[in-house]
């Protein structure tokens, strides 16, 4: 049995999505910007896809949803063009973000810092969420942008986006949210949330990789990140990824249709897995179930290093993740575990399990069994639980 529990990394393409995309590879392969019929025959599907995207996040027709290659591009675009538009030649010099953003936001902000921009990284509490008062206190008349994620990729914790949007609107500050982990998991409504910019990526909600989007509120200026043509109304150059856009539109439609299923069924399976794992002594999960997207668990299993756990799960056909330690080239501990102030001993013990609407009861039962066995095996090896005679002074 192979069980995929890494849906916050990427998701299976829904076969219905794939079916919609197929004609745009070998049949209707024209460039949509060409005048001839080869070009124009893809237009109805592209328009339909745009309708699906606009409906999916409740955008107005006057707003723009610009298709990009991924959310990393969308996030880079907003942050770097805000720099070009309002910081480089303007009187503002300040950006506010959080300590637990995806690197596409975090590293872009770090880059702007190297250019002299002041960046405030709002801290998070032990649940991994920012304090709204900290945000209010951080905004000054020099603040050009607030960029706060809708849901955290590691913990699944939801941020108070509507409140943040209201504050930014009241204080006259532009607000960007990285909604990559929110779309398809909870309702996302750009009007209610008062966002000026919102990033998303198709492959996180059962669409294809290599296509994403940036929502831009009606009339909001943002200089292009890609120059070179008149695509996307001049906002983003590059030949349209026709199959990708068609697939993303369908994926959005299906994801929105499945939100109730997500809230009930995915949540039920997630809770079943979580409750079973929390029966294991010396484990904890970050954040309450209600404050999280319905599919995510970030669990700390004391005494077991994250990559060792992943190894055992992989040996049994289960794909999961740890943002931590040895799994990455930099060998660092899980940054979110550090940001939430978890004990240092636990920073390397994080295991992220993320479900999708394709996860089944049988898969969860199997995963529970495998994880329980892995914990027994790896804790037997672990020095955390190792015997020491009374005279030994532990240096661990």
């Amino acid at each position: 049995m192979r069980v995929y529990l890494d849906n916050n990394a990427t998701t299976i393409v829904d076969p219905k999505v794939f079916a919609e995309m197929v004609p745009y590879f070998c049949q209707m392969y024209g460039n949509p910007n060409s005048l001839h019929q080869f070009g124009s025959e893809s237009h109805p599907a592209l328009r339909a896809a745009m309708d699906q995207l606009y409906t999916g996040i409740n955008a107005n027709d006057e707003d723009d949803i610009v298709i990009t290659s991924c959310a990393t591009e969308s996030n880079n675009w907003v942050i770097k063009s805000i720099y070009n538009d309002t910081i480089l030649h303007g009187d503002k010099n300040h950006i506010i973000t959080s300590e637990v953003e995806h690197p596409a936001v975090g590293a872009s902000c770090k880059f702007l810092e190297s250019l002299g921009v002041k960046v405030t990284y709002l801290p998070v509490n032990s649940d991994g969420v920012i304090n709204i008062e900290d945000l209010k206190n951080a905004i000054t008349d020099k603040t050009a942008l607030v960029s706060i994620m809708w849901a955290n990729n590691e913990t699944g914790m939801l941020f108070p986006i509507e409140e943040i949007g209201a504050i930014c609107k009241e204080r006259g500050v532009l607000f960007h949210t990285d909604a990559v982990q929110a779309i398809g998991k909870i309702p996302v409504d750009v009007q209610k949330a008062n966002v000026d910019f919102l990033s998303f990526s198709a492959h996180k909600f059962h669409g294809p990789k290599g296509v994403g989007g940036l929502y831009i509120r009606n009339g909001q200026a943002l200089s292009p990140f890609f120059h070179g043509g008149e695509h996307m109304g001049g906002r983003r150059s590059g030949t349209l990824n026709v199959a990708g856009i068609v697939g993303m539109g369908k994926a959005m439609e299906l994801a929105v249709e499945a939100l109730d299923f997500e809230k009930n069924n995915v949540r039920r399976l997630r809770d079943k897995l979580e409750d079973a794992l929390l029966q294991i002594p010396e484990t904890f999960v970050v954040g309450t179930k209600e404050q999280r997207v319905p599919n995510t668990i970030l669990i700390s299993v004391k005494g077991i290093e994250g990559e060792a756990m992943l190894w055992d799960l992989n040996q049994n056909g289960i794909g999961a993740s740890t943002g931590s330690a040895c799994a990455s080239e930099a060998l660092e501990s899980n940054p979110v575990m550090e940001a939430i102030g978890a004990e240092a001993d636990l920073a390397h013990t994080a295991l992220r399990l993320s479900l999708s609407r394709f996860t089944t009861d049988e898969e969860i039962d199997f995963a529970i069994e495998v994880i329980q066995k892995a914990v027994v095996r790896l804790r037997a090896i672990s020095s955390t639980y190792a015997y020491a005679p009374e005279w030994h002074v532990s240096k661990l």
């Binding site: 290093e305 040895c326 955390t384 190792a386």
Partner: protein
């Protein structure tokens, strides 16, 4: 960079089969107790290294025959990733049957080599080499505990890169001998910094006492200092073993000024003239341009741009360097 670094590979694919097997079934995993020690007629030694907060920790147990100092049994417990488990297991295996003094000579490189399937292919990817370092360190801790000495006493030189076991002395020597100017060159020559990269600069996986960037900077500064010292010593002693072209601009100025004072000015002054050096510039082609201005009678003299000029230039070229060019302004 290059083709292989563009699509991030799975580091798991780079583990040898031996590493994978040991991760799945470590042979020497477990504990040894006082009772085990009594039964085997030896002394129980327990040593720790690392910390969970760093992502790696290991506890090593030995039973040592006190008369012969032979390690009769070794077991380990480890908090860490799979390669940390496999390295610890191999380390314990290598200890068995050795004396304590022999065991402290086991290095992390011995541990890594013992895990290879093919003698020429590393058992683990570069960023995992530090796992075997921990295995090496815990042996020293155990030996220190057994002998009642400090673990540092087993180390007779300062190790900068623990993964590749490269000492401070070696790194400084290759920088000097090969005139290295970048950290990448140091890595190419010594392998230092090629693995977990903690020793390259601050901010890596582990905090270090010495970083390659600092060693390079300091050694380059020492080399520059030595070079200048050699030049000034050569001048004090009055022999011209140092090539004029290698001197600093200031030294060149001093030498040109001295040569003019000795060989040229007396003649010019006799005719009621003189010259001053306005500037010295070094070109890319090793040519040193000396800008001069004639003073007094020389300033209007017809030969100042012909005969006198050639005389000045040839004296300086003969005394100092062929690469001197005089440019009157």
């Amino acid at each position: 960079m290059g083709k292989n670094s563009l699509i991030g590979g799975s580091i798991w694919e780079e583990y040898s089969q031996k590493v994978q097997d040991l991760m799945n079934n470590p042979k020497n995993m477990g504990e040894l107790t006082e009772e085990d020690a009594k039964n085997m007629g030896g002394k129980l030694v327990v040593a720790d290294f690392g910390a969970e907060s760093c992502g790696d920790a290991v506890r090593l147990y030995w039973i040592v025959d006190e008369a012969t100092e032979m390690i009769k049994a070794a077991k380990f417990k480890s908090f860490g990733c799979g390669t940390a488990i496999a390295s610890s297991d191999t380390m314990a295996e290598l200890c068995i049957g050795k004396t304590v003094s022999e065991a402290v000579k086991i290095t992390n490189i011995d541990v890594e080599k013992a895990m290879r399937d093919n003698p020429d292919i590393p058992a683990v990817p570069p960023q995992k080499m530090h796992c075997s370092v921990m295995a090496y360190d815990v042996i020293k801790a155990a030996a220190a505990s057994f002998k009642g000495v400090d673990a540092a006493s087993f180390e007779d030189e300062i190790i900068v890169c623990e993964c590749a076991r490269v000492s401070l002395g070696t790194i400084k020597e290759v920088i000097r001998l090969n005139n290295l100017t970048t950290v990448e060159e140091i890595t190419n020559y010594t392998k230092a910094g090629a693995f977990c990269k903690s020793c390259v600069k601050p901010g890596g996986h582990e905090e270090k006492e010495y970083y390659l960037v600092d060693i390079l900077r300091d050694t380059r500064a020492e080399m520059e200092h030595d070079r200048l010292l050699a030049i000034s010593n050569a001048q004090i002693e009055g022999h011209s073993s140092v090539n004029f072209d290698d001197l600093t601009v200031v030294k060149k100025f001093q030498q040109i000024e001295a040569a003019i004072d000795e060989n040229i000015r007396p003649m010019l002054v006799m005719d009621g003239g003189n010259l001053e050096i306005l500037d010295i510039k070094e070109g890319d082609d090793k040519v040193t341009d000396v800008y001069i201005r004639y003073l007094g009678a020389c300033s209007g003299c017809a030969s100042s741009s012909t005969g006198t000029l050639f005389a000045i230039e040839s004296v300086l070229q003969e005394k100092l360097s062929k690469n001197i060019r005089i440019l009157p302004i």
